[in-house]
Amino acid sequence: MIKALIVGLWTTLRHFFSRSVTLEYPEQKWTPPDRFRGRHIHLTNEERKPLCVACGLCEKVCPSGCITIESEKNPDGPGKVVTDYRINYLRCCFCGLCVEVCPKNAIVMGHEYELASEDKESLIMNLDQLLDKRMKSENQ
């Protein structure tokens, strides 16, 4: 029994001197794993137009009902173009179903996780905020 007590003390002492696993958050950021489901990103084509064809599938599948799509008839071609696309992050549960269902792979889950805000309005994001500013999609 005494040996066990000493082994216990030794174990905790080793931990005392080992490196802490704490991430000091505002200064150090966390790198999410590849398949992390953060804030959505709307992908664009080479002309900086959203890939979305406003089919409305994501709106339908969303279990929280937090997607709102506004669209109009495509002036120069068949189909529709999306004019606004709002995701209400007050209600989104990051299930990723909208991404799964999209026939055009127009929407993906991004890595951004800092979604706290002091006013609710800023958490209802529109197309402009969701559009991918950096990445060009090969997927036309």
Binding site: G8, L9, H15, F16, V21
Partner: protein, 317 residues
């Protein structure tokens, strides 16, 4: 005469300020060390390395709502934290920090310590009883049983030290350790003393009377704000006192080479405090029956054995 009294009062104020500062930083030390033991950082946000954390904690306690529960016995409810606090702080009156840094050195200091420190249990018992609910009451009963069971071996272990030093004055006890600390001469006594003082100060693995997962918060369940704060300070002051006593009785007090006496004293005391925290980080809480068995069936006989052997050796040589 007047000058003497004023000097004495100034001394008391200074020493108590030092003690309370140490106690405040003991809480910080505990939280940070526990953090390191659990491979995290502990509080480090308030000030550099979290050094202002105790001040922030204190302020927070002041601003909390001070409640007295309706069905409590008001008088004892308020009296209880005061008793706990006063009982511990009065003990420091006879604790010498260095060769001459003490408030008073009375020839029966050890007796005084034993008597006053056992007063603390009244605070806990009254708190448990006057809050008038089952968790507090259970905490109070456990406290009484635990204190009584562990005070006896504690005193017996101390008698070993008293036999060797031949005096009850703490200054004399420390001086008689010049050259050889009593931890060497009294290893068994030291371990018994350590176990008992852990139980007396209500530390893990013996923190039976406020164990969160059984009793909510034991005797403190109904306390808030500064009334809780007094218990809290009292508890940590008790730990600080325990560390001082271990240092004085077994680790040679302020004796040590090169560094000044005061520095040695505080190094030893904070090393003891570290060990307290280390033990808390390591061992799980014992069960109530194990606690009682340990006291009456293991520690007490060993304490008697230690006492007899010490006495026999002292008489023979």
């Amino acid at each position: 005469m007047i000058v003497d009294i004023v000097l004495q009062i100034v001394k008391i104020i200074v020493i108590f300020a030092v003690i309370l500062t140490c106690v405040a930083y003991l809480t910080l030390m505990e939280r940070r060390c526990l953090g390191f033991f659990q491979v995290r950082l502990g509080p480090n946000r308030v000030g550099p390395w979290g050094l202002f954390q105790p001040i922030a904690d204190g302020l927070k306690l002041f601003f909390k709502e001070d409640m007295t529960v309706l069905h409590a016995n008001k008088f004892y409810f308020i009296l209880a934290p005061v008793i706990s606090f006063v009982a511990v702080l009065s003990c420091f009156a006879v604790v010498p920090f260095a060769g001459n840094a003490y408030i008073i050195d009375i020839p029966v200091a050890v007796l005084y310590l034993m008597a006053i420190s056992s007063m603390g249990v009244y605070g806990v018992l009254l708190a448990g009883w006057s809050s008038n609910n089952k968790y507090s009451a259970m905490g109070g009963y456990r406290a009484t049983a635990q204190m009584i069971s562990y005070e006896i071996p504690l005193a017996l272990a101390l008698v070993g030290v008293l036999i060797l030093s031949g005096s009850m004055s703490i200054v004399d006890i420390v001086n008689s350790q010049n050259g050889m600390w009593y931890i060497v001469k009294q290893p068994l006594g030291f371990i018994i003393f350590l176990i008992c003082i852990l139980a007396e100060t209500n530390r893990c693995p013996f923190d039976l009377y406020e164990c969160e997962n059984e009793l909510v918060a034991g005797y403190q369940t109904c306390y808030s704000s500064m009334k809780f704060g007094l218990f809290y300070i009292g508890e940590y002051a008790h730990i600080f006192l325990a560390c001082c006593l271990i240092t004085l009785f077994y680790l040679g007090g302020w004796n040590g080479p090169v560094l000044p006496a005061l520095a040695w004293f505080f190094i030893k005391v904070f090393f003891c405090a570290f060990c307290f925290i280390w033990i808390r980080a390591t061992y799980p809480r014992v069960r109530y029956d194990q606690l009682m068995n340990l006291s009456w069936k293991v520690v007490l006989p060993l304490a008697f054995l230690n006492l007899i052997v010490t006495a026999v050796i002292k008489v023979m040589f």
